[in-house]
């Protein structure tokens, strides 16, 4: 813009000279002997004084300013980034007014409704959408730049400005990136309209909702993909998946196709195989791990009853999202509940978000929680026959059997304790239906709460032997009703729920026999992994207080064919010897003699047969006395391949 004002000044000077002298043809050159200038002044000087014929100057003073304006404009627009022409940035904002139909101030008198204005506005609008977007610009000379769109001159001819522009392809058409990156990206690149061929933008948000969305989505970049984090730039593009077709000359394993068709009739007996191959006799006795089924005259009826109950359960209506899915019910109309809501057992506590969507999720989750907590109200109402799918027990409604109230007496490990997995040593009998391992965190929660007496006693370090700690999972409940085969729905439960990895749960079938029947409080556990709280209301009023009996013998699982008499310990009074934490160490406690007098053949499944009076010396672990003594007859299932620890990772009812 230089020189315009001086040009005007000169024009006025000449005008003044003309009027003062009265000569309309007067020029500045007539009245000045010498004129000099630098820069634009030099140009003006030449213009004002230069002449073609040596007589009159070519230009008039007023021409100077105009000429400058005319010639400078293209000069101003063109030019590379090295020119400091940033101040010439013609902001989109100026043109933005055009986009709003209401503000027609810069319409230059055009009709508001004329097509030209509308189309101009539209163009301006779309061009504005480009701001901030990574675009590719093609120039007339064939070069291609990629950069962030910054501005365009909407008033004039739509020259544009890019920021952080990289030359992708230069005018010769060669891809400048391939051997070398030759130039750093230019911070600002101004492209005049007559060089500009096209501006290409991918995934440009053009409508207002998408614009706002995309902007907001920029912010939570906490959601990083793995590729982003590892900066793995060779990310393979997606390809279309095609179903696998076996090779023609591949091995024809057609009999593998139907391996899973007959699940139960495969005729495979691993024990037999072991015997044949390795000469190993199995000591597996199913009844150690599960409730023995009394098969007798009443079996059929009982089975039918169980099936009926199972059907009832499965057919129940439920408001729990998880259960509904299991049963194939479409619980909620919304199909866009995200996976986390659907499958997570954690109720997120964002209760303060206002979006309706979240509320709905919340509601759904709350429903699940509530159901778990309070039991499905429609628990036994639904009589729809349902397929006997998995018996998914989630609610505790009316059929809560409280576990062994006697078991309340026992301490049981905290969830915090990491005890050995109590594997499925479940002496209680399961119903056929209950064969499914069903987990229910809430149950455990209930159990915890109900059982937790004298908790302080039992905050022992993790390695306690959990001998015979019984959370009475509901599967036993049926068995604990008089007659052992309950009428109630068998909410069989597996031993340790994932929610309580540490809790050791073993069952005591005897214990809960009578008491559980009478006791069916509805508990209110926290359905998420909650902390223990002993709510008195959920405790078994009949429970005895647990007293540690250091001399008590360990509990052994009751089995009718049990060889030796029950231990003198009253049922359910299990104890935890206060064991100093030692990895994998079980110290026998309370038995006095190092070697018990009892003879119980301790049978291992490995080839070494150990008499009960022998300590098992593991080849690879420290020896310590008497770890593995089993006081009562108790077959211990030992798994040879596992890295040996002197006692099993889990010992159900052993005392050590």
């Amino acid at each position: 813009m230089r020189g315009i004002l001086p040009g005007k000044a000169l024009a006025y000077l000449e005008h003044a000279l003309k009027s003062k002298s009265g000569d309309p043809n007067a020029r500045i050159a007539d009245y000045f002997d010498v004129a000099a200038g630098s820069g634009i002044g030099g140009i003006y000087t030449a213009m004002l004084l230069g002449s073609r014929d040596g007589n009159r100057p070519i230009f008039k003073a007023e021409d100077t300013g105009k000429k400058v304006k005319a010639t400078m404009k293209p000069v101003l627009h063109s030019g590379s980034s090295s020119n400091g022409f940033s101040h010439r940035r013609v902001e989109k904002e100026a043109g933005m007014n055009n986009a709003h139909p209401s503000a027609d101030t810069t319409e230059n008198g055009w009709e508001a409704g004329s097509v030209d204005t509308l189309s101009h506005k539209l163009l301006v609008y779309f061009t504005t959408c480009n701001i901030g977007h990574q675009v590719e610009v093609h120039l007339k000379n064939g070069s291609v730049y990629s950069g962030i769109f910054h501005a365009a001159d909407v008033e004039k001819d739509f020259g544009i400005i890019l920021k952080m522009a990289c030359l992708m392809r230069d005018s010769r058409g060669t891809k400048s990136r391939s051997p070398l990156v030759s130039k750093p990206p230019s911070k600002i690149l101004i492209i005049p309209a007559d060089e500009l061929v096209q501006v290409i933008a991918q995934d440009l948000p053009v409508s207002s909702n998408s614009v706002s969305d995309s902007v907001q989505c920029e912010k939570p970049l906490e959601l990083l993909t793995d590729s982003l984090i590892s900066q793995f730039y060779n990310v393979d593009l997606e390809r279309e998946l095609k179903p696998w077709v076996p090779d023609e000359d591949g091995p024809d394993c057609s009999d593998l196709e139907n391996v899973f068709d007959d699940p139960w009739k495969r005729g495979w007996n691993q024990f037999e195989v072991n015997k044949t191959l390795f000469g190993v006799t199995s000591t597996f006795d199913e009844e150690l791990y599960t409730t023995k089924l009394e098969r007798g005259p009443g079996t059929r009826e009982l089975e039918e009853q169980a099936l009926r109950i199972a059907r009832e359960i499965v057919g129940e209506n439920t408001r729990d999202l998880h259960v509904a899915e299991e049963r194939g019910l479409q619980l909620s109309g919304k199909f866009d509940i995200d996976e986390e809501t659907k499958y997570s057992s954690v109720c997120t506590a964002n209760r303060f978000d206002d979006t309706g969507y979240e509320d709905e999720e919340e509601d759904i989750l709350l429903d699940c929680c509530n159901n778990l907590t309070f039991g499905d109200s429609s628990a036994s109402d639904g009589k729809k026959p349902a397929s006997t799918g998995k018996v998914y027990e989630e609610t505790w409604g009316d059929s809560l059997h409280l576990r062994n109230n006697k078991i309340v007496d026992q301490s049981w490990s905290n969830s915090n304790k990491h005890t050995h997995q109590l594997m499925s040593e479940q002496p209680s009998k399961d119903f056929p239906v209950a064969g499914n391992n069903i987990r229910n965190e809430s149950q455990l929660g209930e159990q915890r709460k109900s059982k937790f007496l004298g908790a302080s006693l039992y905050n022992k370090p993790s390695e306690e032997s959990v001998s015979g700690l019984e959370d009475a999972p509901p599967s036993e409940k049926p068995s604990f009703i008089a007659g052992r085969l309950g009428l109630l729905s068998n909410r069989a439960k597996s031993e340790s729920s994932p929610g309580w990895p540490g809790s050791s749960i073993s069952r005591n079938s005897e214990n809960s026999a009578a008491s559980s029947a009478s006791n069916r409080p509805i508990l209110s556990p926290s359905s998420s992994i909650g902390s223990l709280s002993s709510e008195k209301s959920t405790l078994n009023p009949n429970a005895k207080e647990f007293k540690l009996n250091p001399n008590a013998k360990s509990f052994k699982p009751s089995s009718p064919s049990a060889k030796s008499p029950q231990s003198s310990v009253p049922d359910g009074s299990f104890y935890y010897p206060p064991v100093p934490p030692m990895p994998g160490l079980r110290i026998r406690y309370g038995m006095g003699a190092a070697f018990p007098g009892q003879q119980h053949p301790m049978m291992y499944n490995n080839t070494t047969q150990l008499s009960p009076n022998q300590t098992y010396y593991s080849p690879n672990s420290p020896q310590y006395p008497q770890q593995m003594m089993v006081t009562q007859q108790r077959p211990v299932l030992f798994m040879p391949p596992t890295p040996y620890q002197p006692e099993m990772p889990y010992k159900g009812r052993d005392s050590y």
């Binding site: 986009a99 189309s119 901030g132 962030i148 739509f158 290409i200 053009v206 207002s208 614009v211 920029e218």
Partner: protein
């Protein structure tokens, strides 16, 4: 105003109504040789620019994707060398939604610029692609920066061209060895992946 070098537009006007009216579909060829098909979203004869929504699938009957985001081109109509009219769709614009959040755009731009600057830092100038990939690989676990065509690791160890393990200089012994080792392994990995 015919800019220097601009070719005249050969258009096939018949039946399309006004040229470049909104909703028209054209197959366009520009002076650089690029070709595409698009729907006219906006056109202004004064600067003579057309804004196209690019059609990926070439079925004429398809409706343009409503709202949301499009692949677009803003084309200087002076440089259109070939234009053929393919048809017309109904108005692809949903003008109710047309408002622009300037602040949002500015924020987006600022973010993009920051990103671009960060990327630019990582790019070496005048280095080979191989060097760049080595730099990228090293940068995953070590703090690296470019110094001309040398890679400066942890500000002390320098890796010169051609970025082999014997081109590692400087730094403490431990650092030096570590960089050497990482360099070797990265090279091996790059070979495997055939970058």
């Amino acid at each position: 105003m015919d800019p220097a070098g601009g070719a005249s537009v050969a258009s096939d006007i018949g039946g399309e109504g006004e040229k470049f009216s909104v909703g028209n579909i054209y197959s366009v060829k520009v002076i650089t040789g690029d070709e595409f098909r698009g729907i006219v979203m906006a056109y202004d004869p004064i600067p003579n620019f057309v804004f196209f929504d690019i059609l990926r699938c070439f079925l004429i009957g398809t409706k343009p994707r409503p709202g949301h985001s499009k692949n677009t081109r803003m084309v200087n109509a002076n440089f259109i060398t070939g234009l053929s009219y393919l048809g017309k769709t109904e108005d692809p614009l949903d003008t109710d939604n047309f408002s622009v959040d300037l602040n949002g755009l500015r924020a987006k731009e600022a973010l993009a610029i920051r990103q671009a600057e960060a990327d630019a830092e990582r790019m070496g100038v005048g280095v080979t692609a191989e060097a760049q990939s080595i730099f990228d690989a090293l940068s995953k676990t070590l703090p690296v920066q470019w110094e001309n065509s040398d890679i400066l690791v942890m500000k002390e160890v320098r890796v010169r061209s051609p970025y082999l393990s014997d081109c590692v200089f400087g730094g403490t012994d431990a650092a030096n060895n570590r960089v050497k080792k990482v360099l070797e392994l990265e090279r091996r990995r790059l070979q495997l992946f055939g970058t």
